[in-house]
Structure formats: structure tokens, C-alpha cells
Symmetry: C2
Subunit: 450 residues, 2 copies
């Protein structure tokens, strides 16, 4: 067997949207390319000889009691430049929040030194939160957007980065927009080529992403051009889609149709497309997503503040849509996917039951909307991998060894662990209770990055 | 001026439900009883001499840059015996959750060794989360309930502890209920006397609490007797009130009135009463709360799972009701009041906007329901103090020095702090972003407990 390092320990991984597998005291055999070649269970014939050999050759990484492997998290929606304002200004409606806080901040990334300081800190923070694959909006600036890709490359994180396009002359502030559709497209194409070149030397991969901010901020010409670029280079696409009432209605007014249909007309719904939020999708929108392989980046923390309702994720999942999770930094107040796993479950309960005590129970909620903790875990890991069409998000042969080691003995006090608690209980406790201080180390593509 | 220790640093405290005061580089002068005698600002005449004297006499505690004092948190609703099951079994409806998980677990606290192990770990965890005052439900067992009060006393936490009463012959399982109303009342009275005796020697105070579990689990006789005991000893009272549809309807069926009216008839709504959840209060219920000085323990995390809707806290606050926050361990998945501050804001937004995307915006939410981060901070600190009629929850003269030191330089990486961020911004970042690892030390009644 072709292997370079053996990781020994108990791992938790999704095997389907609603079920996990507990890989007890297993050997995760990782090859020279950082891929999981094989997983051996105690009792299998090769187990003991391989373990001895790896130990002898100093190629064994072994977990201590109550340390567990989880797949690294996939974060499908991050505005990297907004990192300095995380946890602030959440009282404003979306369009005001954009114009008075966010755009002035993003405009600062013309300064690559500011960008370097913020992006370095952000990537470090995301890794410390267990995020091994991250889909980023940068800004309109080609240079600092490329810098973000370089920082991911250096730090070992699998980064997918978009230079943002927002060229609409009326809908964007003078101080922060692409000069013209031509320039936006030329910059995007150059950015794609540069990042693809960079990616050739990066084991875990870095990828360029076609990134119209959202329909309101882009001209028709830019949207159409971006669709063409996505096809020409077969790259990922990201944008916002039907995030809340304001945006949804804005697009309906401009095109007489929903976001999904409009984006599709411009060639922007593709197998490797990820659409943030997608809260207000109707039946036709969902059919379009499914047909094109477009994924939903569900951002439950952000949505509570800016989306005016809860995306019916249970419905999306049962219809077979691809769904993953996003932090939506900084509209979401936390950089952690763990916090979004928790809020995804919590919000789904609040969708199912409704919220207003003055309504009768029958008139309050939306039946059968809850998702379980295991489903939310799936979204955070395997679902994210599927959304990006990358072999990540599972502890399984053929997947990249992207893993975080959660240590239940960390913290002061550490987790309470009693004899009556089986591993399924401990798994739930980790997902509901772990903080970054419990994430002891992180591996991406087999390489230790924390 | 009478002082024993000077704490020097910048503190954040509520001065009203919607405003905070930033006490920059202040001297918090704490007397021999652990009370804040005076707070001096730079520039005041006494400031420099006092600072020098305290340093000279080795009675100065000085914060480092980007460490901040916050008032300790007040947690108004904790089921201490449920600590082992936190973060698990959240998929069940309330009555099933009680019968199949919770009651069997609580029954184990007949074993005081089990109780000692769990309660010690719980109090340590709460202190590590910045909780300086805690209102606990224990179990029906007199001995282990008293043990919890002792552990709080020892560890320096201000604990208010109730021996739970649940004597109803049909509504409780055979393996876990008080033998009779007489025995429940006798045990409660003995417990009150014991804890009051213990409290005499405890600087920060420990207090007994009259604790009918909730109306469904108690006989009329027990409820009436508990009301008499509350009056006789002038002690705190706690119970659950109108938590969700099931409980609310159960009480209406039994008494033909809402929880609040029924509890009041039994003499259980009093100045020192705290009623958990209180989600489904109608106008009359709220008037009763206000008239009697009864407080609401708002538990937003728990409510998302078990209450079927969101308590309209903004409305309660504007009507002048006393409101604080509770974790509701273990129906709430986190032991942290910080997480409940965040969810209180988040849930209030979801109440205001509604959750169901298939409804029109007009038919979705409940207007003017949002609370701000500062209001949630008020609930977590000063509001909790008012609820308990104790001088805690503010950094102000006449209040106990209950404080936590939040260190923004802790963590790996630490918080991103940039020159453009003023202290109001940093305050928001702490409340939305701090974890236990940032809580560097905790003081209760002037004494260092972490």
C-alpha cells in the first residue's frame, strides 16, 4: 500500500446526510499527495504490522485519549475584507450596512499592506476554527485578492478566492466600484490566470472564483461576461442569491424574474457554482439549482440578521439540492463553522415552530423543517465538499486528509466525561460544546497547519 | 475612604437597559466586604495618591492592555443535575425529554458522590464562563441539594439553590418524586433553614430557593405550602412558567387559568420570584408579574428547542418587567451566558422578521421586537441582579465587586485589534466573539475565584 503517514485515532465522519460513522481506533493511511489511501480497523490483518512499521519509521501520528478526528470544515461563504468589522454594526438593514460600513471598509484593500495584515490574521483564525477549505469573496482589487490566494497557499489552507465584480455605475458608490465592465472582466480574467498558475505549485490547491457580488451591483454586460469566463476556464462561481426581501424584489423589478433564473440566463449557474443564502427560492429556482448542480451556501447566523427569514434547508436537502454551510463573515458574527452548525439546527427549529407567541401553534411554524445535528454536521463537511466538487469533507479513502483533532481534555475545566457516555454522546457534546481552544491541531492535505 | 484592594483598568457596565458606560483606566476601590466603595477616574484628585498607595502596599490589581472588566454574569436558570446531558438529546419534545432522559438522570442524585463529581465540575465551568451569580434547580434530594450550596460556598460563587418539589402522584414517575406533599414541604423547610445557616458564614452569600418544578408536577397542597414557606422565610422562589404550548395548555386545563395567575394564587409570585421562560404571558400575566415584582428568566437557546416560540422580551422590557438571562442547562446547549446574550439578540431578530419564507414579509414577523446587543448585556448583568433583588450586575458603588477580566490578547490567534477600533467597537467584539479562553480571571465579592 502506498502511504507516507499513518494517523491513529478515533474519527467521526458523515456517511450520508443523516448518519455518521464512528471509526474507532483506526489507522488513516495517508499517501504522499495527502490523500487517504486506506482506513484500517482494529482486527484487520494489516493493522498491527502497519502500526509497528509506522512507529518504527517515525511516520505515526497517534491521538491521546479523548482526542478525536473530525473532517476539516468547509466554509462556503466568507467576505475576507470584512474581517475587521466582525461582531459589529449588526443593527443596520442590509443596504445601509453595505453603504455606510462595508463598502468604505472594502475600499481600503487597495492598500496591500492593510490587506496582508487582515488576511493573514483571518486565515490563521479560520484554521484555528477547524476550517480547512474556504470560499472567499475578496474585494474589487486584483492585487490584494491575489495576495489572499497567496496567503492561503503559504499557510496550507485550501482557498478558493474571487476578485469581486461590482461595476454598476448607479448602484455602487463612486469610491468603490469597478471602473467599467470591460475593466472588471479584464481584471477577472487576469486574476483567474494568475491564481491558476499559482495553484499548480500548491499541494492543497488554491482556485480562482468568478465572483459577481450580486445582481444589483453588476451591469448586464459584466454578468454576461463573467458567465463566459466561468465557461472558458471552467472555474468556480459564487454570488449571493435571493438573500432577503430587499434584494429579491430588486432583482424581480430589474429582470421580471427571480435571482436564480436571472443568474442562469447569464451562464452563472453551473456545476461548480455556490450561491450564498438562497433563502427565497421558489420551486422553479430550486429545480434550476438542481439541474445545473448549483449549491446553496447556508449561512444561518447571517440570515437571522439580514435575510428576513430562514432558508428551508430540510426541504432543499430532501429535494436533493447540494447544500453546505457558510459563516458569511462579517454579516455572521462568528468565524466558526461550529457556531453555524449549532445555529443551523437552532434556526431550523425556529422555522418549524415559528416564533410569534401571539399566533396559535397551527398558524406559527412550517412543519417538518427541523434538521438534526448530524445533518448540520454533514452540511459543514461532506456537503461543502460536494458543493465545491472537491474530494474533501469525509474521512474516507479517496478524500484529502483534511482533519481537525478535537481534544475534550483541553480547557479549564475540560469537558465532563463520565463512564455512561458513549461515543455518539461525545460526538454531540463536541459539536454543541467545543470552542477553538479544543481544536488541538489541524491537517490539510496531510500536512499539519496548526 | 474605606478600601482594601484597588482594581485598575477599563471596565464596561450597563447604566440603563440600552446604554453602557465605559470606565476608562479607572480605579475600582473594593472594601473589606467585597463591595465597590468608589470608582475613580483619571484626573480626579484622589486618583494618583491612591494608586501609589495601593501599589506600595501591594493591594493593587492592574489590568494589562486590552484586558477589560465586565460585571460577572447572572445566570437565572440552571438545572444543575442535568449537566451530564448537556448538548445531547435535543431532538425530543419537552415531555418525552423529561420522562426518558431527564428524570432518570436526576434520580441518580440520591448518590451524593455522583452529585459531588458533577456539581463540582459544573460550578467550575460556570465560573470559567464568567457566571458569578447562579440560580439553580437541584433535585428532590435534600442532601445533594445542600451539597450544591456547599460547593458554591467553597468555590466562592454566589449560589441560589432550590431543592426541587415534584410530588404529584400521577404526573411524576414512581422512581423520581417526593413521597408526599407533607414530606416535600418538610424537606423544603429543613433545606431552607440549613442553607440560611450556611449562608451566615459565606461572604458572597448562598441562598435557599423555594422550587416547585412546575405546576404540572406539583399537587395543590404542595404549591400552597411552598407559597407559605416563601412568605415565612422571605426567600427566593423559582419555577417554570408558560414555557411552551404543552405546559401552558396543561395548566389551563387543570386550573382554567394561565400559569401566572395560578402561581399567584398559591403565593408564589413575589418580589424575589424568578419564573423561567415565561414565553406565553398574556397582558394580565404580565401585569401580575409587574405588580408582584416577579422576574422573567429568558432562556433563548433552550426556548428554540422547547418553547415553540420566542419570548417577546423587548415588549416585556418596555412594560417595565424585570428580565434576566438563563442558560437553562441542559435544555440550552451551552453553559455560557455569552452564548445566550448572542442568541437573545439573534432570536429577537427572528421574532421581528419571522422565519417562514413562504409568507409575505407583512405576514411573517412581529414588529419592533428586536433587542440590541447592549440590551442583552443588560439582561445578562444588571437585569439579573434586579431579578434577584441583589446588589450585583453593575460596576458601580454599592454593588458587589463581581467581575470578569476579558483578555482580547488571549487565544491563538488573539482578537484582531486595529487602530480604527474604539472601545465601543471592542465591547461589541467581546460580546459577540469571546470564548471561555478569553476570560482570564473572575472575582466574586472582591475575591479571586479564577
Amino acid at each position: 500500500m502506498n502511504w507516507q503517514t499513518i494517523f491513529k485515532g478515533t474519527g467521526f465522519t458523515s456517511i450520508s446526510p443523516d448518519a455518521i460513522e464512528i471509526l474507532k481506533d483506526s489507522l488513516f493511511c495517508v499517501d504522499g499527495k495527502g490523500m487517504i489511501a486506506k482506513i484500517l480497523q482494529p482486527g484487520e490483518k494489516e493493522y498491527s504490522p502497519l502500526l509497528s512499521q509506522a512507529a518504527r519509521e517515525n511516520r505515526l501520528v497517534e491521538l491521546k485519549p479523548h482526542q478525536y478526528f473530525l473532517p476539516g470544515f468547509v466554509d462556503l461563504h466568507i467576505h475576507a475584507p470584512q474581517w475587521p468589522q466582525i461582531g459589529t454594526a449588526l443593527d443596520l438593514p442590509l443596504n445601509e450596512w453595505l453603504n455606510s460600513c462595508t463598502f468604505p471598509l472594502e475600499a481600503r484593500y487597495e492598500d496591500t499592506e492593510y490587506a496582508r495584515q487582515v488576511y493573514t490574521h483571518l486565515v490563521d483564525t479560520l484554521i484555528a476554527n477547524g476550517t480547512t477549505t474556504a470560499l472567499y469573496f475578496a474585494t474589487i482589487h486584483k492585487e490584494s485578492s491575489y495576495l489572499l490566494a497567496e496567503i492561503c497557499a503559504e499557510k496550507g489552507q485550501r482557498g478558493l478566492v474571487g476578485k469581486v465584480v461590482m461595476d454598476h455605475q448607479e448602484e455602487n458608490p463612486d469610491f468603490y466600484r469597478d471602473a467599467s465592465p470591460e475593466e472588471a472582466l479584464a481584471d477577472t480574467e487576469e486574476f483567474i490566470q494568475q491564481v491558476q498558475e499559482l495553484g499548480k505549485t500548491v499541494p492543497q490547491g488554491v482556485y480562482p472564483v468568478v465572483t459577481p457580488r450580486f445582481i444589483p451591483s453588476c451591469s448586464d454586460e459584466a454578468l454576461a461576461g463573467l458567465g463566459r469566463l466561468a465557461a472558458k476556464y471552467n472555474v468556480h462561481v459564487q454570488s449571493h442569491c435571493s438573500e432577503g426581501d430587499w434584494e429579491h424584489n430588486f432583482v424581480r423589478k430589474r429582470f421580471g424574474k427571480n435571482d436564480a433564473a436571472a443568474l442562469n440566463d447569464f451562464g452563472l449557474l453551473r456545476e461548480k457554482s455556490v450561491m450564498a443564502h438562497s433563502v427565497l427560492l421558489d420551486r422553479d429556482d430550486r429545480a434550476l439549482f438542481k439541474k445545473t448542480g448549483t449549491a446553496v451556501a447556508h449561512c444561518p447566523l447571517s440570515n437571522a440578521y439580514f435575510a428576513n427569514c430562514v432558508a428551508p434547508i430540510k426541504e432543499y436537502m430532501s429535494e436533493g439540492l447540494e447544500v453546505g454551510l457558510g459563516t458569511d463573515i462579517s454579516a455572521g458574527y462568528s468565524p466558526g463553522i461550529l457556531q453555524n452548525i449549532r445555529q443551523a439546527v437552532t434556526s431550523s427549529r425556529m422555522l418549524e415552530d415559528g416564533t410569534d407567541p401571539s399566533r396559535s401553534p397551527e398558524d406559527r411554524g412550517r412543519r417538518d423543517s427541523r434538521i438534526t445535528l448530524k445533518e448540520a454536521f454533514y452540511l459543514a463537511t461532506a456537503g461543502g465538499g460536494e458543493a465545491l466538487s472537491l474530494p474533501v469533507g469525509k474521512l474516507a479513502p479517496g478524500y484529502a486528509f483534511d482533519a481537525q483533532v478535537v481534544d475534550m481534555t483541553a480547557g479549564n475545566p475540560p469537558f465532563l466525561i463520565l463512564p455512561e457516555m458513549d461515543r455518539d454522546i461525545l460526538f454531540q457534546k463536541v459539536l454543541f460544546g467545543a470552542d477553538p481552544e479544543h481544536i488541538r491541531s489541524v491537517y490539510i492535505q496531510g500536512r499539519k497547519v496548526l
